[in-house]
């Protein structure tokens, strides 16, 4: 064998260098074309879009029934994987009319031009008592708040305020189902899926004055 012949490990290293191949130029065009064809054939069980908001980029997902999940910026990584695991592997970044409506209404909400959301929701990611709690929560009017205990009571179990807290902490549809309107009994702001700071901002937005809510 010629001593200048490339050896096996050198060839393997060059083959493995193919993993670094830059596919960015075609990636975007391809994923858009695939999403378009999938939408035309109604192949997607879940469509996902990213929406820029004053809170940062929000992740929105919708099934054929309606919006099923809203994620805060820190949830972007793994968002599609979570939906694939919980709902269906047929999930892609693609437009869907309910997502378009939700995005439009979120813009209006953040500009103080909307006090309630009118988009179809798919509640499949929550069930039982948690679903009850979120149901009650969805009826809390703009700018008003309830305590965990009050929400638990309205959901039929006055002493289950802890479970109510869990239900709100795992709300798959924050903002659209306004769990930020539920506070600790003491008037303290309490925890929030998107972080306490986000909860505070939503409450001050709804308070209209931009002022911090009492006891925050």
């Amino acid at each position: 064998m010629n001593p200048n012949d490339p050896d096996i490990s050198a060839i393997e290293a060059r083959l493995a260098a193919g993993r670094e191949l830059d596919v960015e130029p075609s990636w975007r065009r391809l994923t858009e074309a695939i999403a378009e064809r999938a939408a035309a054939e109604d192949l997607l069980d879940v469509a996902v879009e990213r929406h820029d908001s004053p809170l940062g980029p929000l992740m929105l997902a919708a099934t054929r029934e309606g919006v099923v999940r809203l994620g805060f910026p820190e949830e972007e990584d793994g968002f599609l994987d979570e939906l694939a695991r919980l709902i269906s592997g047929r999930v892609l970044r693609a437009p869907r009319p309910s997502l378009t409506d939700a995005r439009h209404q979120l813009d209006e909400y953040f500009e103080r031009g909307r006090t309630r959301f009118d988009v179809p929701l798919d509640w499949r990611l929550t069930r039982g008592f948690r679903r009850e709690v979120l149901n009650v929560t969805s009826a809390i009017p703009y700018g008003k708040t309830l305590s965990y205990a009050e929400v638990a009571a309205s959901a039929g179990s006055p002493r289950a305020w802890r479970a109510a807290g869990t239900a709100l902490a795992t709300n798959p549809l924050p903002i659209l189902v306004p769990c930020h309107r539920v506070l600790r009994g003491t008037g303290k702001i309490g925890p929030y899926r998107g972080g306490t700071e986000v909860k505070r901002r939503l409450l001050s937005l709804e308070a209209g004055s931009g002022a911090e809510p009492q006891g925050a």
């Binding site: 010629n2 012949d5 096996i8 083959l15 260098a17 193919g18 993993r19 191949l21 064809r37």
Partner: protein, 143 residues
């Protein structure tokens, strides 16, 4: 990763189409996937089939291809990155797939066997033979 594999199997131009066809087929056939944990191997096996379809379609309708300048010699050190994949494209079908799955998709021999529907030993052999043949090609090119 799947897109890179498609390109490794069908070249940069047809690789894009192979990827698109793979994704659409996978979405259509998703209900037939029994084990969601095996989705990766399943996708690569669809891609491997689509790449073969693409090769056959291309063979039926030959079009003038650019001269890939193989065998012109030159300094192998200049032949960096993706150049070697032009040689991979000319490997026999099974070796081409196995080499792509091993080095682009970074699959284990066991996973390659699952994708290609062969024994693990056969998967190992396909990878090995493919790499051996590439070395011969390169050696010839250098001389």
């Amino acid at each position: 990763m799947l897109l890179r594999f498609c390109i490794s199997q069908a070249g940069p131009d047809r690789g894009d189409d192979v990827f698109q066809e793979t994704m659409i087929s996978a979405l259509r056939a998703y209900d037939t996937l029994k084990d969601p944990g095996a989705v990766r191997a399943w996708l690569f096996s669809i891609a491997a089939r689509k790449a073969i379809d693409s090769h056959r379609a291309a063979a039926r309708a030959p079009v003038p291809v650019e001269d890939v300048e193989i065998g012109t010699g030159g300094d192998p050190a200049l032949e960096v990155g993706g150049e070697i994949w032009k040689d991979v494209a000319r490997l026999p079908e099974k070796q081409r797939q196995a080499v792509g799955l091993r080095f682009i998709a970074d699959l284990s021999h066991q996973e390659i066997a699952a994708v290609m529907g062969t024994s693990e030993a056969a998967a190992r052999r396909n990878v090995f033979e493919g790499v051996r043949r590439l070395r011969e090609d390169l050696t010839d090119a250098v001389r």
